[in-house]
Amino acid sequence: MSTWRKLLRDPQAAVTGSILILIFAAGLSTPLLAQHGPNESDLSMVNAPAGTPGYLLGADESGRDILSRLLHSINTSAVSALIGTGVALAVGVSAGLVGGYFGARTRAIAEWAFNLVMTFPGLLLLILLMPVTGGDYRYTMLIFGVLLSPGIYRIVRNLVLGVKNELYVDAARVSGLGNARILGRHVLSVVRGPIIIAAAFMMGASIATQSGLAFLGVGSKEIPSFGDMISSGFRNLYVAPTQFLWPSLLLGLITASLVLLGNALRDTLAGSRPQPAKVGQGQRAEVTPQPPAAADPEALLEIRDLTIAYPGPGGQPREVVRGATLAIHRGQTVGLVGESGSGKTQTAFAVLGVLPDEAVVTRGSIVFEGRELIGLSDSEMRPLRGKQIAYVPQEPMSNLDPSYTVGAQLVEGVRSALGISKSEAKTRVLALLERCGIADPERTFDSYPHQLSGGMAQRVLIAGAVASRPKLLIADEPTTALDVTVQAEILDLLRDLQAELNMAVLLVTHNFGVVADICERIAVMERGQIVESGDVLEVLRGPRHEYTRMLLDSILDHTAPIREASR
């Protein structure tokens, strides 16, 4: 119920909602407000001006009371909206639930039928079927509802398909719930919001269409409607412009309110939508960069007192990294270990200058080869990226552009880093792919990402990262998404490449085993702070910080099983 309260508090929803309620309430009280019938024409009143006694808004070209016609038109549009939306919802929601929830065959039939409806220009059909509907706008709206239903069907079907794959629906089925109960309890609750939103837009569409058709003259002249009034006002535009104004204003107000209400509903019910990103602006920093103080002469990268904050729920900044300090020497491999939410990935992103837009660096410095990185713009960072500092991500598939072949993506990166010709770049990429353990480099070069296995995709990403012999490689959980046997191979590859190119590596991971396998030094991160760092052997064998000890103790023993075979 808090949703409703939130809606009431949203000014846009409250204002548009109230306008609609007022307008339709006026329509309902037509018998009380109207002094004349809508089609009652008085020839002495033709084009009577506004304010004429008994004709508050004047009379039209046939001497009919404009106010009364307006009120009746409200009712016509309300009925149109109800019929159009009602039919669309009844057809679309039931078909969507059935098509989404039950088997592929049922869905194929529904899909086919709705595609058929969708491919035809609806308005044309409504006009062509005029001899059939006999001009009754209610029948027209009935057909229009069917024409609107594919949109609803798609929304509902997609939501249901999404929900159906959720584990909680499987869990409900395992708990012994029948289909009807699952649809009612788990599925309907998810589709309710989007349906309400769509209904607001469909009402607007129904009213606009009904008016458009009436404007054309489709339908009975006996039924007062905005379209008919606008058409009459249009003919009379030079004589009495206000006749055109009233129905246009009211129609505009109703459709605008419905659209704006729909938008407000969407914002409230569907939660906040993602906002635009400011591409190419560089990450935000609110620190005054200071000259690197007493820098470690051997350090390639030095992170000091780094603090990164996100806007929190109450407007208070929420710090995800709090004063992290870390140094990496040339050719050194450092493991940055922590649990989820410890800020290890944020630290890595900050070095690359690719923190999300919302994040702000509020304190500290990142010095790479004597140069302060914090505060650099995207174009100042670009010469470093790829060439000096490279990145290997966690999830191999989502980090390749699905629309380009592997080769095209790698060539683009190599060329932007090294400025070499296309054919040179291709030769280089092919050699790299082979070096990274890909059996058939030519074929992989021409493959699209979706044709690769996870392990292959990760090799491709590593090839792309080391293409220009970077001095520092930042690998963010590079093996977490992979099978353990593939992980071992990828770690072998990283170790070999590191030695070959003498790169420094910052390896972000949650796995102490990975650190033990490949790193010389380790830094342990807890809630945004680095609590312990040092030589890998020393820290893993004799952890000093309590948190490190706790983590190491949590590792499941690798030798003795603790349970015996039962009975």
Binding site: F120, P131, S211, Y391, D401, E412
Partner: protein, 313 residues
């Protein structure tokens, strides 16, 4: 590839048959009224019967439909009950007028929506507010009102453009441009409202994807990331919207043509429907379906080119 295209065209043909059959069956419910409309209110029952017989409406419906189909296969769509003009050539001529509004409108809509959507999604701030405001205006104001308002301001008051009428392109290109200007603007405003919002949403989603970050770490330029990578990935879903947009515009054009008294498809359909001119209605229906089939096929092929996963082999 060729097999795919011919399969799709065959499916389109089946669709056309089905839609025309349904339309014919529904229309057949009102053949009596049609005859009465032709003869006028004062017609005697005898003359109505005679007319019904003359038009062949007394035969079983399926036989009539089969007859229509047979003629169709011979390339004959019949002729108008009223004017006796051949349906096929009239429909094509009218379609030409409507397409000469829709095609320019669609092209401008795509260019403008892409620009606005990309600008809003990759710049944020004021750019985003401007783009969102524009598309909201297009959504809120019904096309009908917009058309009338523009006629009033640009044609009636400022006398910059003709209020009504159509000049064929071949006759006088300048006059043609002036005659379609306002209708095109009306269609574009409605179209951009919908499409720019779609492009913006898709672009925002794309720019937040992991591969964009990885491309940035490779030192690739912002322009390349936005245009070559993100826009290309956003374009595939936006194309589906485009084909729907075309159908939508086709519908809107019907009303707009009426406001501007353009001799297009819509007014032709409207008159035929009002008069119960069955051969013309059927001709309009089948051309409508075929047009939609071709547009959908075109979108699917473009989609396959853009999106390797959807590529047909």
């Amino acid at each position: 590839m060729l097999a795919y295209i011919s399969r799709r065209l065959a499916a389109g043909l089946v669709l056309a048959l089905l839609v025309t059959l349904i339309t014919f069956l529904m229309l057949s419910l009102s053949f009596q009224d049609v005859v009465r409309t032709i003869l006028g209110q004062s017609a005697t029952p005898e003359s109505v019967d005679a007319m019904t017989k003359q038009l062949g409406y007394d035969r079983p419906v399926l036989v009539q439909y089969g007859d229509w189909l047979l003629h169709l296969f011979r390339g004959d769509l019949g002729s108008s009950v009223y004017t006796s003009l051949p349906v096929a050539s009239s429909v094509l001529q009218r379609l030409g007028v409507t397409l000469s509004i829709i095609v320019p409108a669609l092209i401008i809509t795509v260019l403008l929506s892409t620009f606005l959507g990309v600008w809003a999604a990759s710049r944020g701030g004021i750019a985003d507010r401007v783009a969102q405001g524009l598309s909201l205006v297009g959504y809120i104001v019904p096309g009908l009102l917009l058309a009338i308002a523009l006629v009033y301001v640009l044609a009636v008051r400022a006398k910059l453009l003709p209020a009504t009428g159509y000049t064929p392109l071949a006759e006088n290109p300048g006059a043609w441009l002036r005659s379609i200007a306002i209708p095109v603007v009306v269609l574009v405003i409605g179209g951009v409202a919908n499409m720019a919002a779609q492009v913006r949403g898709r672009m925002i989603d794309e720019l937040r994807r992991d591969y964009v970050r990885t491309l940035r770490t490779r030192g690739i330029s912002t322009t390349s990331i936005v245009v070559r990578h993100a826009l290309r990935n956003a374009a595939s879903p936006a194309l589906t919207v485009l084909s729907l947009e075309f159908i939508q515009m086709f519908g809107s054009a019907l009303i707009i043509e009426n406001v501007f008294a353009l001799p297009g498809y819509g007014s032709y359909a409207f008159n035929a429907s009002l008069q119960g001119d069955i051969p013309v209605i059927m001709g309009i229906t089948i051309f409508g379906v075929l047009l939609v089939t071709v547009v959908n096929l075109g979108t699917d092929l473009a989609n396959g080119w853009l999106n390797p996963k959807a590529r047909v082999h």
